[in-house]
Symmetry: C2
């Protein structure tokens, strides 16, 4: 593993959530990892200003902040709260010096069966948030989640749907997150990556592998690169062919990885990245 092979590697904080923010910064420095994707909850616990100073002093690039969104409420109070929370997320992204806020749309409100209506409410919210974000140098990256999350987490299930939403706004305001875990099964995804790339709307590219059996609740079973069914190298080539040359973030939610030593997991992840994505 030579340093050039890690040039585009970014570790999402959730991959090694057992590490504190200072431990993560140290571990990145030791390995020569230059990029991190951060999550709002641990950043807020540490303090947004303190976190911004820490990553700046460590020379780390914050490739994304995860995540805003959850914009599907029908109740006016809940809706106003969600918009307020997303304004805060945009401010946090700007404070951390990242240009990209990942958005997960949210699921169906309790008792609702109206996917289409929920997707429209996401569009309405984007119209409020996108200009606010752009004024602060932050792009919104709509993340389609795997269809298994459609009811309870994210009504945007495909890259095509995410782009249909994004294209209502300028590309520097709203684009998409391409995450292999969520799109690998979709035979339309390669064409949609080309569509996104041509418009400059691939705002971040994230990786996790697909392994089975899925755990209860299907949240924390994302596979280490190389352990599953996804041809990582092929997806990297697809986003590159679409014009994307930015950071590649590895975001694993995995109970087994979280139970291990965080530095060891980071080193393994970097090595897997080189072996399964780059070489």
């Amino acid at each position: 593993m030579n340093p050039a092979e890690l040039a585009r590697f970014s570790v999402n904080q959730m991959t090694v959530r057992q590490l504190s923010l200072p431990e993560l910064a140290d571990a990145c420095a030791a390995l020569g990892v230059a990029g991190v994707g951060l999550w709002r909850e641990p950043v807020r616990r540490y303090g947004v200003r303190a976190a911004a100073k820490l990553v700046r002093d460590a020379g780390l690039t914050v490739t994304t902040l995860c995540r805003g969104g959850f914009l599907t409420a029908t109740d006016p109070v809940e809706r106003a709260e969600a918009l307020g929370d997303n304004h805060a997320a945009i401010d946090e992204a700007a404070a951390l010096g990242t240009d990209t806020l990942v958005l997960v749309s949210g699921g169906l409100p309790a008792g609702s069966k109206d996917l289409r209506g929920a997707r429209e409410r996401v569009a309405d919210a984007l119209a409020v948030l996108a200009p606010y974000a752009a004024e602060r140098g932050v792009r919104l990256a709509i993340e389609p989640l795997h269809p298994m999350y459609a009811s309870d987490r994210c009504v945007v299930s495909t890259l095509a749907q995410a782009l249909d939403l994004a294209e209502r706004f300028p590309a520097h305001q709203v684009g998409v997150t391409v995450d292999t875990y969520h799109v690998w099964w979709d035979d339309q995804a390669p064409a949609q990556i080309a569509r996104a790339g041509a418009a400059g709307r691939i705002h971040t590219f994230q990786l996790a592998d697909w392994t089975t059996p899925l755990p209860e609740g299907v949240l924390n079973g994302r596979g280490q690169l190389g352990d599953g069914a996804i041809d990582m190298r092929q997806w990297r080539r697809r986003v590159e062919a679409a014009g994307y040359s930015g950071p590649i973030e590895v975001e694993l939610f995995n109970e087994r990885l979280w139970a291990r030593d965080g530095r060891e997991v980071l080193a393994e992840t970097a090595q897997r990245f080189v072996d399964h994505v780059i070489r």
Copy 2:
């Protein structure tokens, strides 16, 4: 609940798998249920000829036999075995007097990351099986399964993919299964239902509701009608608008339903069908 409201209702055997085949036939007679979807494993345990006589004597229509498929092996011996097993499934369907064999394509072979290649092998197998089935009065109904099964169970994840495969063959040989559980999240599904219906390729229509959290392994958490996120009435109207007027099979894999009295579950399911699908 009047008898006319149950005219199109069919209970898939898996919904009440705690009932033996004679118990199922009795329970159907008691409720005025005229259709059953059968599964190969319990039918073979009971004996195919005996099962055929039982359902015939009970006046039941066998709406489908579930299931053939698993046609993605690369190993020649495994592939030959799979074709042999599917020939047997077709013979069983003909013996039971049903015109429809549901096919689940199979997942990726161990170690493979080649979804496209696996889908092509399904097409190759259909070319062998479809004429054999047609000679016996049996139609093959390719069932796209939810994308969460793409690696380990079914590389055909959308109605569009299923139709792309089916359209290589005459409609009376190969069509599709529309199952709400598998397609409800897909904003392309309504257009694909229209495409399938226009070509006479909706060979069966199945229902289950989408409930969360999903259980480990994501197999046995299909929701009772009305308990989840799917607007059943709307999907019925869509398949009807596409020209489908056949049986509607309720197929629930659900540990909680299996733990209850089977007759009670059948009665509840019939009532839910009337309340959430028909009225």
